[in-house]
Each structure stands twice: as structure tokens, then as C-alpha cells.
Symmetry: C2
Subunit: 163 residues, 2 copies
DNA sequence: CGTGCATAGTTGAAGCGTCAACTAGACCCC
DNA sequence: GGGGTCTAGTTGACGCTTCAACTATGCACG
């Protein structure tokens, strides 16, 4: 039965499960550590990408692509952060449709505190629990996954669902 | 400024980011592939763990621990699956507080189809895009993360938030 | 045996993410 | 230069997840 299906070998399955569970645990732990300070991980990522950008500002869609979130989600998240005064919208000068999101001074100040907590969290739950070789192996595998994902023709990232 | 903080090296940051983005992309891709069939990845995980259990039944809390979800979330998810007839509740014989969740025949049938699609998805987006060595490196690193997480005293998994 | 505390699971409200529909500006091209 | 189409972003409704509060049972200790 089901002859055509290439199931995973026991070893492959073990690694796949380790990946699946560990990512859930990591996400939980990292988010919990930031949540204590009143910020979610995805909000942190948004602020953090802005802070590294040229002029601390980015187009909404560029931001969405960077942090791998839907444009809609970025709109909502940005609205929340804007209410807190950490981020500001302005029209894009070169494209009437576009919106630039900019980190405010207040936002930069807040981010400093978050960054300290976050890097400690990343170390505690990931970087410092691995040997340098393990971290390298992880990083290289994940980069390969990204490269494949970027190539994949059925990676619409947004538009027409492929159902 | 911020002398006490051990920031990540450029290399460490690169690997950390590769991990962070790739997990988001993978989650998206795997969930999308299942979503087309009308099931979410976390629902799949629940059904799949039940199917592998002794007698295709598990205690709610055991299930929650296995798939790394909160007990509350498992309650809600199980309710959804129960409405679809794929899962059934019964009181635990040995503990008056406990509840056993059991895969129904209908559930097992449905799961077969989902499993075929899911394994193809896992291969396409993860297993088959990596060399065996890369997959092994990934698996071992993630297992190390899990081990560290299990050891960590501030891993309440549920109770009193450590804020 | 009964008081106190821990554990198992549920519940409902609030918040976040997704999805489809929508507005508006750009681009193409005859 | 006015359709047709594509891209950028927003909106609101719906659904899932989280969180805190709650019920009920087990367990320890006097």
C-alpha cells in the first residue's frame, strides 16, 4: 500500500522531529524572555531591521520580505508599534503607493534595552548551548533551506494561494 | 557603553539570522501545504502523535508535552478535531482528573492522506534540499537545543510565568 | 478525616495573524 | 491619453492562540 510514497527513514524522522520540537521550544523561550519586557519577538524583529537600515527607514514591503511576514501582518504590527510611539509612517517620495516606516528616537531608545535582553536570550537558549561546530552546521543547513525556498517556484510569498 | 553585554559575533549573527528566517519560511511552507487539505500543522502533529501511541490514545497533558503546546491550546485543538469526528475524549481510568484522547477510525483514515502530503512537503522543503551531512548537523544541533531546554530550570513549560 | 496545596483540564475573553476584498497609484501599449 | 493590468498597502472579519480564572480531583500531613 502507498507504494509511491518515499517515507522518511528512522534517522531522517528523528532529525526532523528534533528540528520540529526544538524550534517550538526555542520560539517559546525567546518569545517569553521578550514578552516579560512587553514586546513580542516579531515586533522586535521589525524594530531591529529598521534600526539597521539606511536612515532607520524601510518600505513596508521590503520590511515584510526581510522578516518573512505577510504585508498585512506588517501593517498591523506597525500600527501597534506606532501607537507606542516607536515607529512613524511617511509616504515614499519616489512612489506614490509606497510607505516608509521609520524608527523614532523613542523607538531607538526602547530597542536598546530590548536588544540587551534578546541577545542574552539567544545566547542562553541557542548559541551558548551549542559547540561552534554545531552552530556552524545549523547555520549552514538553514542557509541551504533558505536558498532552496528562494528558488522554489511555488513560493508565492503572498499572492494567489497554490491550493 | 553596554560593556557587560556579550554581543554576537558577525558570524554568529549570520547563523542565528539564517536560523530565524529559515524556520519562518519552513513553517509557512509546511503549513501552507497542509492547509490546502484543510488541516493545520499543529492539528497534524496532534493526530500524528495519537496514531503512534499505545492504543492510539494519550493523556491530554502527555500530548501537550509531546507536541510542545500549552494544555489550553491542546484542549481547543482537540475540540476542533472532535467536531470533525477524528478524535474522541474519555475519562482516564486511573485518575479522576485526567482525560484520554483517542484517535477514531475516521481519524486514522483521514490521517493517512494527510501523512502522504506532509511527508512529501517535509522532503521538498527540508530533507531533500540538504545533503545527508547537513541534515545530520541540523538534527544534532537541534537535539542539543532540546537537551539544554529540558535541563533549564527556567523552563516552566506552563506554570508561573518567570516575569 | 479535613485542611492545604498541587495537578489535570476547561472556559471565555482578549489579542494577534490570516484571508479576501478594497483603494490607489504605477506601468504598458496601442 | 484612456483602458487593462500589476504592485503597494490597508482594512475588517474570522479563527486560532494566549492568558487568567475556575472546577475538580489527587495527595501529604497533622
Amino acid at each position: 500500500m502507498d507504494e509511491g510514497v518515499r517515507w522518511l527513514s528512522a534517522q531522517e524522522q528523528q532529525w526532523w522531529r528534533a528540528y520540529l520540537r526544538a524550534t517550538r521550544e526555542l520560539d517559546l523561550a525567546l518569545d517569553r524572555d521578550l514578552q516579560c519586557l512587553g514586546l513580542s519577538l516579531s515586533e522586535y524583529e521589525l524594530l531591529s531591521m529598521l534600526s539597521e537600515a539606511e536612515g532607520a527607514r524601510l518600505r513596508m514591503s521590503a520590511l515584510a520580505a526581510l522578516i518573512v511576514q505577510s504585508r498585512s501582518r506588517v501593517t498591523h504590527t506597525a500600527a501597534r508599534l506606532e501607537r507606542r510611539g516607536w515607529v512613524r509612517r511617511s509616504p515614499a517620495p519616489d512612489d506614490g503607493r509606497g510607505v516608509l516606516l521609520e524608527l523614532t528616537e523613542q523607538g531607538r531608545d526602547a530597542l536598546e534595552g530590548f536588544a540587551v535582553a534578546h541577545v542574552a536570550s539567544v545566547r542562553r537558549h541557542l548559541v551558548d548551548v551549542l559547540t561552534p561546530q554545531q552552530l556552524r552546521g545549523l547555520g549552514e543547513a538553514m542557509q541551504a533551506v533558505r536558498d532552496a525556498y528562494a528558488q522554489d517556484p511555488t513560493t508565492p510569498a503572498e499572492p494567489a494561494g497554490p491550493c
